[in-house]
Symmetry: D2
Subunit: 360 residues, 4 copies
Amino acid sequence: MPGNSFGQLFRVTTAGESHGPGYVVIIDGVPPGLPLDVSDLQPDLDRRRPGQSKVTTQRDEADEPEILAGVFEGHTTGTAIAIRIANRDQRSRDYSDIQDKYRPGHADYTFDAKYGRRDYRGGGRSSARETAVRVAAGAVARKLLGGIGVRIVGYVRQVGPIVAEIDEPSSITLEQVETNIVRCPDAGAAERMIELIEQMRRDEDSIGGVAEIVATGVPPGWGEPVFDKLKADLGKAMFSLPAVLGVEYGAGFGVATARGSQNNDLFTTEGERITTSSNRHGGMLGGISSGLPIVVRCAVKPTSSLSRPQPTVTRDGEATTIRTRGRHDPCLLPRFVPMGEAMMAITLADHWLRQKSQCG
Amino acid sequence: MPGNSFGQLFRVTTAGESHGPGYVVIIDGVPPGLPLDVSDLQPDLDRRRPGQSKVTTQRDEADEPEILAGVFEGHTTGTAIAIRIANRDQRSRDYSDIQDKYRPGHADYTFDAKYGRRDYRGGGRSSARETAVRVAAGAVARKLLGGIGVRIVGYVRQVGPIVAEIDEPSSITLEQVETNIVRCPDAGAAERMIELIEQMRRDEDSIGGVAEIVATGVPPGWGEPVFDKLKADLGKAMFSLPAVLGVEYGAGFGVATARGSQNNDLFTTEGERITTSSNRHGGMLGGISSGLPIVVRCAVKPTSSLSRPQPTVTRDGEATTIRTRGRHDPCLLPRFVPMGEAMMAITLADHWLRQKSQCG
Amino acid sequence: MPGNSFGQLFRVTTAGESHGPGYVVIIDGVPPGLPLDVSDLQPDLDRRRPGQSKVTTQRDEADEPEILAGVFEGHTTGTAIAIRIANRDQRSRDYSDIQDKYRPGHADYTFDAKYGRRDYRGGGRSSARETAVRVAAGAVARKLLGGIGVRIVGYVRQVGPIVAEIDEPSSITLEQVETNIVRCPDAGAAERMIELIEQMRRDEDSIGGVAEIVATGVPPGWGEPVFDKLKADLGKAMFSLPAVLGVEYGAGFGVATARGSQNNDLFTTEGERITTSSNRHGGMLGGISSGLPIVVRCAVKPTSSLSRPQPTVTRDGEATTIRTRGRHDPCLLPRFVPMGEAMMAITLADHWLRQKSQCG
Amino acid sequence: MPGNSFGQLFRVTTAGESHGPGYVVIIDGVPPGLPLDVSDLQPDLDRRRPGQSKVTTQRDEADEPEILAGVFEGHTTGTAIAIRIANRDQRSRDYSDIQDKYRPGHADYTFDAKYGRRDYRGGGRSSARETAVRVAAGAVARKLLGGIGVRIVGYVRQVGPIVAEIDEPSSITLEQVETNIVRCPDAGAAERMIELIEQMRRDEDSIGGVAEIVATGVPPGWGEPVFDKLKADLGKAMFSLPAVLGVEYGAGFGVATARGSQNNDLFTTEGERITTSSNRHGGMLGGISSGLPIVVRCAVKPTSSLSRPQPTVTRDGEATTIRTRGRHDPCLLPRFVPMGEAMMAITLADHWLRQKSQCG
């Protein structure tokens, strides 16, 4: 199938470009009877939107979703839900630069190589603005999962060399995350991250980082071996987000230097319930949820758009330089958090429905 | 859909358990006219098979594939290909331990939680022995891709703290990899890795590591935004393999500490061809192949099965201990290499057909 | 997957309800570079729209499509296309009847049984108004296919007992079909059909019929055995349309009384080309296109909505009567023609891309 | 996706050719805990197998299934089930005729047109022998459905001009069907059908017919609008079977001449239950099961293989004649019955799981 859909039973399909009329998402497979209106979507959209703080791009777009289908009298009907987010900021500009020159780190060249043409305005289909409708779909998934006690919280774990100290990922709350504009629950680290990001803006540069997304309350048993393991589908979900170059669970790349005798999480009981005494496995064993918190970390690259001039080539291969005018995030991480949460929510909602179908 | 299939147009479906009659894979979507017989499958199966060297499990299974369908007069017909690998080693054993006790790090508990029952013999469906038929399918994909100049080579990059020095991943050849039993092209590192692995066996312990898989010759343009980006589907492919807890491309988690001005690979030309002067992006931009080598690294955990006794619980939650009798790999990495290559090949073959369908 | 998508590589996903804000369709997989604007969509939408003539419902809705995504500078970009058709006629009405009473022949009861709730306004999701966006998607498919010489023409073959005489289905042109409001190329039959339909309106009754849809120019080789045979996917496409209770190809149900010696279409040559001297097989052999015209007939039931009172029950099972106020088609056939053509076009576009991917 | 799979959640994938090593089916998505062994599969396979009576081909093949995966200790495990049926009768023959000449009514020409090559031995992949593994998969589906009270019975409704009189399709039992070799529950008609079929054999000719397949006990609510309506997926299932040129439900093509006032099945109650007083709708309204019996009829063409010589052309387009030596069914209907039942069972099992996932 073409690539604009995600999920098997909770199925999200998006369309739209950065500077076209707007974005549409169709969410198919949402069970009937879920209370839903735009107020369920707005909070996460506001956390993703540009212009929200001094550490993000200063562009101002209020992403206001409109529910076009699938909701009646305040509840989902079980039929396809359509949500639209119009583009407000469609003023015509001079795109001649981006039309002919390949921005380093962006998809301009590969889109041309693939399709032979592209909507070059603001990145067109490759713009991260597309994640707005993913976040809307994620809010639906999150609401659905909330009904069975699944909670998803993401935060910034690292910006450049600054790493937050987090004792227990599953204990972090949304409130803690939202206490600062960089979305890092370690207040000291957050301050230093903000400073570093502001320095980047002054330097006409950008900086990468790591986001950590945690799901608690997922019962054991979700995930479909041998290919649609939960870790496989979650990995795909995270890698489908722009700028993600690495994904890891639990101990992650740390397993490379570990011995089995240290790395194995030992089974034990908590009351009647079987559990493990540690969570190096990141909440999935054999690709199936174990009941422990699901912990995923995403490595997000520094923004490719820079205000300083960068050497590049034109479509015809002639050497030139490009500087991205306009406003961009000096660090993607603060706005990445709701995107990561959304993809986690969509993936878990999908696997919940899959588990219900076969073993329900 | 249920979870035992992978790929959209080059579609692989597997069945089989570790100690049942054997494994079957159906490969649907292979174009007609590809020369194919079992001799194309055997080499990769031999690289995956147990008992191949002193650093792997000593169990001896010659995995001999049988082509049951889809090949006629030595060529694929365009119809579904079926390949069977029978289990030779089905002697009845005493499985009472594994039947009632949950092995740490394994999927025994989560399978029970999901399905309510499981084929416990040797891990049943969760056994890594399932990858044998993936490797067979990967050999078909590899042959198909070979026809258009795509070459896939994997090797062990790290075992415990020992990291191989590799100047240029895309220059490594299969021959170099196969010069030693640990499949590491850095001879000095390979020696130390072998020593470490043997130490692990003596210690009744195991050790993790990192494998690196590289594809060269992939033309720019493969990958299907926005969800089926090549990096997303490759990520899923790798995470679908047992024991993988982390996946990264190019600079990977290193992007977290990088600045945009350092991280951006700058466009330039090589003759008529547009390319980049470095490959921190791992061969994909915007999730579409850029023409540069595709470089993926997988973090593989230390074998969970240990000969030494480990505390655990029974199905009923009673505390007990388990020691995995029998023979296992003290380090999964040497045998992981052909598995990673196979999943890379399957994913690329799939995306090649997808690219042909839409933009061909 | 949920049920609101059709097609594998030319993939259509719809959302929307009869009296909600409107309808949206996302068409994923359209190759880049196809010239496209709303003027390509409007003609087929006009042929489908209500109020077009005295034999259709008198309700007046001008279905004006808006392209929201996937088209740039007048050409498709290869990314997902979104088209919206807003509902104009959303004035609030008294739906108390339809809310509580089950309309005979409609999906009110089964939607309640399935989902536990439904958008009852005008049929909600079960309304045939949903086919408007299918027709828009079909126009895109038709334009794509036109580029390789595939032409699709549908017409009304039968209304009640009146059967059109058509010597050679593949010779009928769109112009011939559009010479009369009932869309029957046999002028004499058309006149009698119109009379019968007007009689039905006077009688507060409705009448069924048969539509025939013909595709010419389809090269041999499309269709994917063994399950996605072209006849299987076309059959699904047609049965997915409202009111269709029977589908047949070529000789259709006539094969039941035929002998093999009469029924076999014999192979012969036409110049260099292999063909058959007759087309009882309807253009597909073994589920693969043969190069002969593809001929499908759909049996369409009489409109279930009647102005006369009909006995029924309420949601609570109490006996009552219902009469459908408002305006409906006394015969669905004239407006069914563009719907059938659209589903034929979508199915063929999908199979063309599938053929390209594997055998291209 | 390639065409050798059917179903979304109860997913069947087949491989195999008529004169290769044999057939394999993988059934993915069967819930765990279903008691299953080969004795569940054999009865339906025996009803499908050749050589079962004087009205079928005299070739003798005992189709003995072997379960290769997915069943443990007599129960399904929830993982993929693999079933193999080996070809016994693989003796080498002279296929030169069929290799170079196109058999009228068969897929020889279209396979060549599609794939450029084909396994010509006995029809290869296009042989109806492929349905053996579908029947095995259908037996699994049937057993699953039996647990919730769904019963599927098929029979021959018509052979040539001889039409069985059946008052109430849903009252027919398997026992009644199996009282005669033609599988027609109207004993008088059955006798005449047998005579006619024997006449066909003597005439070196063949005859078509109609099979009727009925499912009872399906609860209201199965089917996934707007594309995966139950009637759409069932239609696809039936048209995916060889030789089917027409499919209809309930009143079928009879709706063409019906008025709405006669055709509407009126809602009423039976105790607490809402039902309709007649079943012209064939058990589905809006493509969702209504709780009434699901009644489908398939038009099956006369066997294309004839012992008498038929004119045709070679691959090179030269005129020639062909006579199909060997033994074939003079009428496909008696052996079609279990095939139609199998596809009905697979489709219903799939839709049951789909209904559970979303509305369960």
